[in-house]
């Protein structure tokens, strides 16, 4: 093991330890609630990040999938009294299925069309939750059951949500660091080049969209349980916009940037009263500022600053191919 991978392992362990022990060092119950909310949001945003941040498909309607997960959990675990754990998994599966059904027609469309399709999806879900009153409680809403012990207490629920968040972070990090991650970035930045090396563009877009649907379904179930009561007004379109903004502000093609974005954008309005009054206006302003000033996201600012601090001289050597070695290499490869 090299020293740098050792260091990153140590960093990961410290971060996990900090997240796991959080209930014992936060100031009050409210902060614990906030931390649980951030963890739940992150479950969704982390999956969505594969779609928005990596494959470059601008979905602004994931709140629809969140709502489906939350209502699914309320109905399965509440009305039909399924086991909450089974319901949770079922919500993930339902979210994935809905992601598949939404992605199949819309992921072939160009950027703006796709964004509009996802927005329309969110509006349709909102409309149906209101219209199908027998099923969803209509405008009155539904009570959502809590998880049983040991996850019934605020501390327990937080640990459940944090566990899910860590798991999904690990999964997406695996994808990001593999050939799939490079393929997704190629789809985002240069689809023509991606095709030319054989990247199955549509298939990959669809698969990561399904994954994002699953994570949104899971997040929805957790979110519903955390809120304990849901109505159609819980899932306003602006919430979907918020998820999207967290990723763009954090920076595309990164995992920790959007995590940073999620934490800051969730916590900031709660901590700073004037921002809370601005409400969603604040997210619009933040998005505009980032798009105009640092389109690569906040994460990029740190990179640029660190590059300024220790400038490296780039020496452009002449490209001197070694014909003999190249021929040897190619022959060896082709004989296999």
């Amino acid at each position: 093991m090299t020293s740098s991978s050792l260091r990153s392992l140590a960093g990961t362990l410290v971060a996990i330890a900090a997240v796991a022990t959080l209930p014992w060092w936060v100031a009050d119950q409210y902060q614990l609630h906030l931390a649980a909310l951030i963890a739940v949001y992150w479950v969704l945003i982390c999956g969505l990040n594969l779609v928005v941040g990596f494959s470059g498909q601008l979905s602004i309607g994931h709140v629809g999938l969140l709502a489906i997960g939350a209502y699914g959990f309320a109905i399965l675990a509440g009305r039909y009294e399924w086991s909450p754990y089974l319901s949770l998994l079922a919500c993930g599966a339902i979210g994935g299925l809905c992601g598949f059904l939404l992605g199949l027609p819309s992921l072939r469309l160009p950027g703006f069309y796709f964004a509009m399709a996802t927005m329309a999806f969110a509006l349709i879900v909102a409309e149906l939750t209101l219209a199908l009153g027998d099923f969803t409680g209509g405008g009155v809403g539904l009570a959502v059951p809590p998880f049983p012990e040991p996850f019934a207490s605020p501390e327990g629920f937080y640990l459940l949500a944090a566990g899910a968040a860590i798991l999904i972070t690990w999964l997406t990090r695996n994808v990001a660091q593999s050939q799939w991650g490079r393929g997704l970035i190629a789809i985002r930045d240069n689809p023509v080049a991606a095709e030319s090396v054989g990247v199955p563009v549509f298939r990959m877009k669809l698969l990561v969209f399904v994954v994002s649907g699953m994570s949104a379904g899971l997040a929805g179930a957790l979110f519903g349980s955390l809120q304990s009561y849901i109505t159609p007004d819980t899932f306003v379109f602006e919430l979907g916009l918020f998820f999207f903004v967290c990723i763009i502000i954090g920076g595309r093609g990164s995992i920790y940037g959007p995590l940073f974005g999620t934490i800051v954008l969730t916590a900031l309005p709660e901590m700073v009263a004037p921002l809370a009054k601005l409400g969603n206006l604040f997210y619009g302003l933040a998005l505009l500022a980032v798009v105009l000033l640092v389109p690569e996201g906040i994460g990029r600012v740190f990179e640029v600053l660190s590059a300024r601090l220790r400038p490296r001289k780039l020496e452009h050597g002449a490209v001197e191919p070694d014909a003999r070695r190249l021929a040897e290499l190619l022959r060896e490869e082709r004989s296999r």
Partner: protein, 251 residues
């Protein structure tokens, strides 16, 4: 029948006929030049072979298998790699990662193994990395391996794109004006690389404006004009063809 061949292909864009009944056969271990004035259909032919366009008439066949309707990706997986007139790289990734992107033939099409980072995936990743590093080294880009691709100079980008194409383990490489924007010595080095590909048994299609470069390098040359075949043969034959001289080379 181990060649990549287009047989009497026609391609129209609206009312404009870009190619009409042209055949090109690209054989393994051979450099095949494709020259002609601007708008003669060279790049259209390259796009038909690599799958970015589909022929209106005629066929594209690889090793006897009909690929006329096959997608770009399917052809890439079958061993047809290409570069672009203007290098298409991923600017935010490093040189090494850009080259690694080319090894898609060995990447699982399922998502689950990558999500769970199965041991097999990690092994692939390691091999892929080593292979890309060795290839870049032999192409003379070893010094730039960790550099971000959008910081490269033009010649470096060209060679990196060739490296990415070679990561496919291709049987055929289609180069779209690879000498464009290169200096004299750089073009010479490009020639060295192309000869090495040929010697390794790869078939190379060279779409180029730089005629001296083409005649010095190619085994066979096809000349197009206004979407039609003008002349086809060895460099010596083409160079002395009166029609080619009249239309393209000039006196």
């Amino acid at each position: 029948m181990s060649a990549l061949a287009a047989t009497s292909v026609t391609k129209r864009f609206g009312g404009l006929t870009a190619l009409e009944g042209v055949s090109v056969e690209l054989r393994p271990g051979e450099v095949h030049g494709l020259i002609g004035p601007n708008g003669s259909g060279k790049t259209t032919m390259l796009n038909l072979l690599s799958g970015f366009y589909q022929a209106d008439e005629g066929k594209v066949v690889l090793r006897g298998e009909d690929l006329t309707r096959a997608s770009v990706q399917r052809r890439a997986r079958a061993g047809v790699a290409r570069t672009f007139q203007k290098p298409r790289l991923l600017g935010t990734l490093t040189v090494l990662e850009n080259a690694m992107l080319g090894s898609w033939r060995e990447t699982p099409r399922r998502l689950l193994p990558s999500l769970l980072s199965w041991p097999g995936i990690r092994g692939d990743e390691k091999r892929n990395r080593a292979r890309a590093a060795a290839l870049l080294e032999s192409l003379g880009l070893g010094y730039a391996i960790g550099r971000q691709a959008n910081l490269l100079e033009h010649a470096e980008k060209r060679f990196l794109e060739i490296a990415r194409a070679l990561m496919l383990r291709p049987d055929f490489v289609l180069l779209d004006e690879p000498a464009g924007g290169l200096t004299g010595p750089e073009i010479e080095r490009l020639g060295i690389v192309i000869r090495a590909l040929r010697d390794a048994g790869i078939g190379v299609l060279l779409v180029e404006h730089h005629t001296e470069f083409v005649f010095g390098l190619c085994d066979r040359v096809t000349t197009l004009n206004l979407g039609r075949l003008l002349c086809h043969g060895t460099p010596a034959q083409v160079r002395n063809d009166p029609e080619v001289i009249r239309v393209y080379l000039g006196a």
